[in-house]
Symmetry: C2
């Protein structure tokens, strides 16, 4: 995520539009991809982290560029990564405009690499979503996450190590999949649902729930004097978070300030719009009311 007027992306005025740019990597989730030798979904994580950021300003992503750095290029591995990037760009309606593959002997351990991504979108100036119109009483509508996404993996890896379990073991809270598969599940791409929500509803703020969870991310999109009330248990929990909390004896408060906990994108809109968003002909798949905007600041959990 990068600093900017709207919190999640940088804004650059261009004619009657803003260009919106975001850059991010996928952090230590890469270590899981290395451990599992599975490289075809990490590209989706990379694209998602940047495009989910810029769509929070109401910007439709236009193009993406990637930087792939490794000590000695493994063509099959790099190709798997790029295939994931290409698919995620298509799914997000943006062009893969270019990229750089850097071979840097001595920088990375054997078989390892680092990734960074850059996305640019645009939004008409009068359509920018900046949170300024948010009012007390507006409702928080959550969109489901697919799992841990691409934040909090340093903690996840410590917990996994202490648990004595391996990535190949069944996830205790959902034995139909392995711990590794659950943790490596690619980050959800929110571009399409958010852009369609912007057409259908009066969306006043958008929050990409990254590292810091609700606790640190929701305040980034609230105007001065307003905070959020989040209702515990109002959304479907994910088995992977239940396992993380149990295995790591993680306090609920820490869960909520570290992980997305099952909701990866929050849309703030008037109550009537939120109602249409969760039921009826315009309902969005998986959308759930998780709380509301209140006087004050920060996030309270009720």
């Amino acid at each position: 995520a990068c600093p900017g007027v709207g919190g999640f992306g940088g804004l650059f005025p261009f004619g009657d539009s803003y260009l919106v740019a975001g850059t991010d990597g996928v952090g230590t989730k890469l270590k899981l991809a290395f451990d599992m030798d599975k490289h075809d979904t990490i590209g989706q994580d990379l694209v998602a982290m940047s495009v989910n950021d810029i769509v929070t300003l109401g910007a439709a992503p236009m193009f993406f560029l990637d930087y792939f750095a490794t000590s000695k290029l493994d063509v099959d591995q790099a190709e798997a990564v790029i295939v994931g990037i290409v698919r995620a760009c298509e799914e997000s309606g943006c062009a893969l405009l270019g990229g750089e593959t850097a071979e840097m002997p001595g920088f990375y351990s054997d078989g390892e690499y680092d990734l960074s991504g850059f996305a640019v979108g645009s939004v008409k100036k009068d359509k920018v979503v900046d949170g300024k119109r948010v009012l007390a009483g507006d409702v928080l509508v959550g969109l489901p996450s697919t799992g841990v996404h691409s934040n909090g993996f340093s903690l996840v890896r410590r917990i996994l190590e202490r648990s004595g379990m391996s990535l190949a073991d069944p996830l205790p809270t959902d034995p139909s999949r392995s711990i590794g598969d659950a943790l490596l599940a690619p980050t959800a791409l929110y571009v399409k649902p958010v852009l369609s929500a912007l057409d259908a509803f009066d969306v006043r703020a958008l929050c990409h729930v990254t590292g810091g969870g609700f606790t640190e991310n929701l305040p980034r999109v609230m105007p001065d004097g307003l905070g959020c009330s989040v209702t515990r248990g109002s959304w479907a929990s994910l088995p992977v978070f239940e396992w993380i909390q149990q295995a790591g004896s993680v306090e609920e408060e820490e869960m909520l300030r570290t992980f997305n906990c099952g909701v990866g994108m929050v849309m703030v809109m008037p109550a009537a719009d939120a109602q249409r968003c969760i039921e009826g002909p315009d309902a969005m798949p998986g959308a759930t009311i998780i709380g509301s905007v209140v006087e004050g600041e920060g996030v309270v959990y009720v």
Copy 2:
């Protein structure tokens, strides 16, 4: 450098303009910065590699974003890097719109880091510099480099090692500076001179001389059926390249297909414009005629 219509940048149509995007890192030049524990100029290399690419399409850079990844953040070190980035963005007339600082335990050796950068510029569609108007007889005008810039450092480091010399030793071909200082000299920023040349002259193609030297880069901007004739010795050689060639017993041909050899940007223009570019009231500092466009393909050295 990234693929695209014009060779050095990716083009995205936007109204009556193209947005032009480029991404690059600084490669193993970073190892020199680590060895010398000098981090305040590598940011200029990072910015230069991307903005010099996009200006070759005639695009004025608008904004830049950086990605800085390390295992454990050293605030002083990171600050020195960012200061270099900020200065180079100012010098290139572009905004530092955002960035990502990624702390990735276990990815990088102690005290080391990797950098990638991303620049976006714009150019009116009818002003894009794409080489299509280049004609046989047009002239190659070179702008001086400051040294090795940010390519070819794997070879440079091998030569240094074999030479038995250290970075602190005086450069044999110019004892007034150390080998380290000469090698770490920041990449020249060509945005201002190139944009002013676009105003003053009929610039038909622009070539950023990166890894691959004249030999591989000039053909990237030539239309089908045209090549370049480069006149040996027509530009001022740099002591650092003389030392590299001597110390490494590097053939001239390999020098010319690896390094910029003293000319970091080539502008292609009609002969009359080239003449005005090198002398008279419109002359550009350091500009030198280094060759011409000829029938054929590739680069011949005469």
